[in-house]
């Protein structure tokens, strides 16, 4: 039988689980969230885990840059991300901080590639996220990123739009991030969803101005759809106002 270690989906739970595996010196066949559908040969194992201070513990052991790499891998949509984190940490204990330069190790190369991808997608959404203004002056955006970037993206808007009320909803994952001019709160849509999405009175006019600007600023003699799609992949267009009707 293949031992699959199971955790309830959160970064803390995953770290706790991996920590236990290290302590007990077991190599997992795989690590999965509770949503996992087991195969015939799978044996699901639930470990009892108590350590509440796991983040503090690991932030002490692992330096900032490597910690960020692991966290970003966790945020990714890679199906083997848990195992990659497990092996990355295992090698971290052996090689310490310099492990991030050891791309000859498969798990390191994978972790770096994935974390890079998450970071790039987050950067893209700093630009591609589109808010509209609702009646109550709240700014509201919907996104559908490949990776779970809602939290790190929200940190960006917390600085940028710090004196506005805003909400970002990840439609794929059904989670929502709410900012009240002080703090960010992240909920599942089942716990909290916004129902009144009526626009503020000048929303339509502003959107028209933006679309007009977008159309005007492109130079016809240089038209290049290929290039546009490379930089701004079509999969995102649905939620990008100025191209949403070209989908």
């Amino acid at each position: 039988m293949n031992n699959i270690y199971v955790y309830e989906d959160s970064f803390i739970n995953l770290l706790n689980l991996i920590d236990q595996l290290f302590i007990n010196n077991v190599k997992p066949y795989n690590i999965k969230t509770t949503n996992y559908n087991p195969d015939l040969f799978d044996n699901l194992v639930y470990l009892k885990i108590e350590n509440k201070d796991i983040l503090t513990k690991y932030k002490k052991i692992v330096d900032k840059e490597n910690f960020k790499i692991i966290y970003y891998v966790y945020l990714s949509n890679d199906i083997n991300k848990e195992l990659i984190i497990y092996y990355y940490l295992l090698n971290y204990f052996k090689y310490k901080a310099k492990v991030m330069y050891m791309r000859n190790l498969n798990c390191v190369n994978k972790a770096l590639t994935i974390s890079n991808y998450v970071s790039r997608e987050n950067h893209k959404f700093k630009g591609f996220t589109r808010f509209r203004e609702l009646k109550n002056n709240v700014l509201f955006a919907e996104i559908e990123p490949e990776n779970n970037i809602l939290e790190i993206l929200s940190m960006h808007f917390k600085n940028r739009l710090k004196n506005e009320f805003w909400i970002i909803k990840d439609k794929k994952r059904e989670i929502i991030s709410i900012y009240n001019k002080k703090k960010i709160f992240i909920y599942k849509c089942s716990q909290f969803d916004i129902l009144d999405v009526n626009d503020s009175y000048n929303e339509e006019q502003i959107e028209k101005l933006w679309k007009l600007f977008y159309k005007t600023i492109g130079i016809e003699a240089r038209r290049n759809d290929q290039c546009r799609r490379n930089f701004m992949p079509k999969k995102y267009w649905k939620n990008i106002l100025e191209v949403s009707d070209e989908v």
Partner: protein, 402 residues
Amino acid sequence: MTLKEKLEILSDSAKYDASCSSSGSSRKSGNGIGNTEISGICHSFASDGRCISLLKILMTNVCIYDCKYCINRKSNNVKRAIFTPEEICEITINFYKRNYIEGLFLSSGIIKNADYTMELMIKTIELLRNKYHFGGYIHAKAIPGASNYLLKRLGKLVDRLSANIELPTSDGLKLLAPNKEENKITNIMNYVKENQNKKFVPAGQSTQMIIGASKESDLDIMSRSENLYTDYKLKRVFYSAYIPVNNDKLLPSLTVPPLKRENRLYQADWLLRFYGFKVEDILDKKNPNFNILIDPKADWALRHLDEFPKEINICSYLDLLKIPGIGVTSAKRIISSRKLFNISFGDLKKMGVVLKRAQYFITCNNRYFIDKQYLKKDFIETNLVLGNKIENNLNERQLQLF
């Protein structure tokens, strides 16, 4: 005139300016709205594939000058408009709030005179910064001929302040933009250079040259760039393929903008800024123009085959950068990795090296990647050109480095 009509006219007439970058500044958010990010952020990409980062507009397209290549020149019969400062602020804030843009790019035609125009621009930007408390990115174009005390005021408000050199040589400028004497432009550049600090034009200055409107060779253009980077500490030189908007006997009658040439100039520009190349390495009097078939770095490597192959595990950082298929990121990765382990061909791919190009120019642990008998100029050149062709077809003009 409605706001919509104004926006249409004044963004249409600003679109030929290539610069839309929002990098180089890290303004923290204050009481109002907005901050800036050092690397800059692209918010959208226009139908021509260029990044849209800033609300790029002219304050007015009224102009007392008559530059031959410009759509706004005095002698053109086009609709004219002017924004009020409030209008510009309202659009900027409303666009910014919705995350359409990173900030404002404000340029202008010259209305009455240079100082008068600059004062109007300053009034607008002061309003935006002080009343609307806007903390996002602002790039303002200084008006050639404006007084230094106005440059001083504007420079304190914006992230980037710049002037376009427009043409690579003063002869070109005299011919096509006779009112814009060169020293009016270099005066601005000098002033910004002398005074630049964290509180004055923190993101530095950039400039733009129009390519193909006058007769200069690539060598003229690149030499000018090199001298702009060293003499005026410019952050960027932009190259803008000339697009005919006016009929004038002094202008060439191009039908298609020279985009490939523009692309080569951007590539060469990167070689100057990040790869340790000098203009004299890549162009000379005998070869004053770039090879359209092959990028400048590969072209250089082919002319210097005797310097290759380079051994990945020992050659210096600068030598790594000279290898086609290796860029700044992969070179840095190689340097930090090879201290820890011996790099093999298999690892190179993981580090982002384009082996298809690099293979002819390297050894790993003294072994060649391909059979030695193929290390001949003609063979390599054909393969690189063919490779480029295939890439180009897939990815036409993708290498725009805005």
